[in-house]
């Protein structure tokens, strides 16, 4: 018996739904039957280290900054989503199909390449990835999203929060991690009710146009080759359209860049140590 505030109840309830989503992810059908799905649920202030890593990557990976902004906003409003992390080790192939989908003739060759070529920091998927295991793994993620959808709660599968969690080895032993923020419970933040006030402070119309012209063209549309250019203005045919002008960096800028990288690395190490301590406190890891 008792009286409860509905809004607060559903915010707390995201944890319960995250448990059901994790259940769905582990229960999903698999083609290979050999993918060990690993999952971890992050609630409350334990999301902060993951947010900090995402924000550290914001400069080189704008989507990470965007996703972090949403999560940070919800966290500051006291309705932080529960983050369900779903991961698996896709770097070793034990399926034995020898199908060649990964680009190697046999699974043994794939495993050798995987062993000899460690992945670099800051990639969303720590490849190479076995194609059939990847399909099974993403079907598991799909089931988790569907479980969240059945409970009428906002959710969005994210590579960025997953990448941040993977750097902090949450859950441990995964080559690929995707994050599934479940919530905010009360009002949707990503899809339908984007807060105009916040966005208008951050981005102006000109920013958006610059973003479209420079970022989207260079990265997403015009990979060396013949995909069409964006027609950025009226009479676009009058003069050739240049997306970026290449200039040599000034020495002081190079110095500043090196300092920034050094600071980012220091931050990353600090956050990692903090996260490992949090995992030890939560009983998910043995102290060394």
């Amino acid at each position: 018996m008792g009286l409860f505030d509905g809004r607060q109840t559903i915010i707390d309830n995201t944890f319960e739904i995250a448990k059901l989503c994790a259940q769905a992810a582990h229960k999903a059908s698999q083609i290979t039957g050999r993918v060990e799905i690993k999952s971890m649920i992050v609630t409350g202030e334990d999301i902060v280290p993951i947010l900090e890593v995402m924000e550290a990557f914001a400069q080189v990976m704008p989507p990470a900054g965007g996703d972090a902004m949403f999560l940070r906003l919800a966290y500051d409003q006291g309705r932080a989503p529960t983050l369900l992390l779903i991961g698996a080790d896709l770097r070793t192939s034990n399926v034995g199909y020898d199908c060649g989908a990964c680009g190697f003739d046999t699974c043994a060759e794939f495993n050798k390449y995987s062993h000899d070529n460690p992945p670099s920091l800051g990639v969303i998927y720590q490849g190479p990835s076995c194609v059939w295991k990847t399909i099974d793994y993403s079907a598991a993620c799909s089931w988790a999203c569907a479980a969240a959808w059945q409970h009428n709660i906002t959710n969005r599968i994210q590579g960025t929060s997953g990448m941040a969690a993977q750097i902090l080895s949450c859950p441990e032993g995964c080559s690929t991690v995707l994050g599934l923020p479940i919530g905010p419970a009360d009002e949707d933040l990503y899809w339908f009710n984007r807060p105009g006030k916040v966005f208008n402070e951050l981005f102006k119309y000109e920013d958006m146009m610059r973003f479209f012209q420079n970022f989207i063209c260079a990265y997403w549309e015009s990979f060396p080759g013949a995909k069409p250019m964006v027609k950025g203005k009226d009479n676009w045919w009058d003069e050739p359209h240049h997306v970026l002008r290449v200039l040599e960096d000034a020495p002081e800028e190079v110095n500043r860049f090196h300092q920034d990288v050094g600071e980012a690395l220091n931050t990353m190490v600090r956050i990692n140590i903090e996260m490992q301590q949090r995992k030890i406190d939560a009983g998910l890891k043995k102290p060394e």
């Binding site: 290979t32 720590q126 190479p128 013949a226």
Partner: protein
């Protein structure tokens, strides 16, 4: 009021076809669920094809049986042969493929295919024309023309997960298969895709995709049914003509003697010998039983 009668007992009979059409309706909804799954960049990239019918499923199963012996690996032979039975037993088969996986990568340097933050691993292994992957070059010694873009493959996985989730909601038995997808690809289903996954669906009293015994292809349900019918036909031949005579009850003394199978055989032998002697001694006597 028209009546629609459904039953699975006779394969491809009208009542079975009614049932199969219901499954086909579910398959159409499952395909829609697959197509509505979120895709990277919001671009369409998943194609789907529904295949059903005796001819089509038999062709698919035979292609799988051909593939079973192609690689010369025991493990592959086992799964190809086992799953070829399921291709025959399914009501309909859904093929899902990603037609951007091989020749139109996502180009975001995600590291999925090689672990390095560049797409060069994939581009180096493809034939390029004007810096784009030339999709006409389909030559390959492998089962699948890799490497493939991992983001696209992940999106195919999302579509497959949505399809399975929908099948789950519709209470239709479904299971994803790699082998069936390969065979379907060879037969030209989802022909634009470099990678194809098959999801057979079935609505029967026994889910044909689970509880699989060793050498499943040797003990398929249809074969067992027809073999039982053969013994039934054989047993039916020992009765007399139903119009002229009734089957007689056994002698209670004889019946009391029968404790084991061998006792029964003894009684049968005695009866046979008695019958043989009778026919020798009384060749000309009319058969009393026939006159009743």
């Amino acid at each position: 009021m028209p009546r629609i009668y459904c039953d699975e007992n006779l394969q491809y009979s009208p009542q079975d076809m009614n049932r199969r059409e219901n499954t086909l309706g579910a398959a159409r909804l499952i395909v829609n669920a697959a197509l509505t799954a979120p895709q990277g960049g919001g671009v369409p990239q998943v194609e789907a094809e529904i295949v059903y019918g005796q001819e089509e499923q038999e062709a698919l199963a035979r292609e799988m049986e051909k593939l079973a012996y192609e690689k010369g690996k025991k493990f592959l032979e086992r799964i190809f042969l086992t799953e070829s039975v399921m291709a025959r037993q399914a009501d309909a088969i859904i093929f899902l493929g990603n037609y951007r996986a091989s020749d139109d990568p996502f180009d975001v340097n995600c590291g999925g295919c090689s672990g390095q933050p560049s797409c060069s691993f994939l581009y180096e292994r493809k034939k390029l024309t004007a810096h784009l992957i030339d999709l006409t070059d389909r030559r390959t010694e492998r089962l699948i023309n890799g490497p493939l873009c991992t983001v696209r493959v992940t999106d195919l996985g999302f579509a497959m997960g949505s399809a399975l989730q929908m099948a789950n909601r519709l209470m239709v038995d479904a299971r994803p298969f790699y082998t069936m997808g390969l065979a379907g690809q060879r037969l030209g289903y989802c022909r634009n895709s470099a990678i194809v996954v098959a999801i057979p669906v079935a609505t029967m009293s026994k889910n044909p995709f689970v509880d699989v015994c060793p050498d499943y292809h040797m003990m398929a349900r249809e074969k067992i049914q027809t073999n039982v019918r053969q013994f039934l036909t054989f047993m039916r031949q020992i009765g007399p003509d139903y119009r002229t005579s009734e089957v007689k009850k056994a002698d209670p003394e004889d019946e009391a003697r029968i404790k084991t199978y061998m006792d029964w055989m003894d009684v049968m032998r005695e009866r046979f010998l008695k019958f043989k002697d009778r026919s020798k001694s009384s060749d000309t006597e009319p058969d009393a039983e026939e006159e009743e």
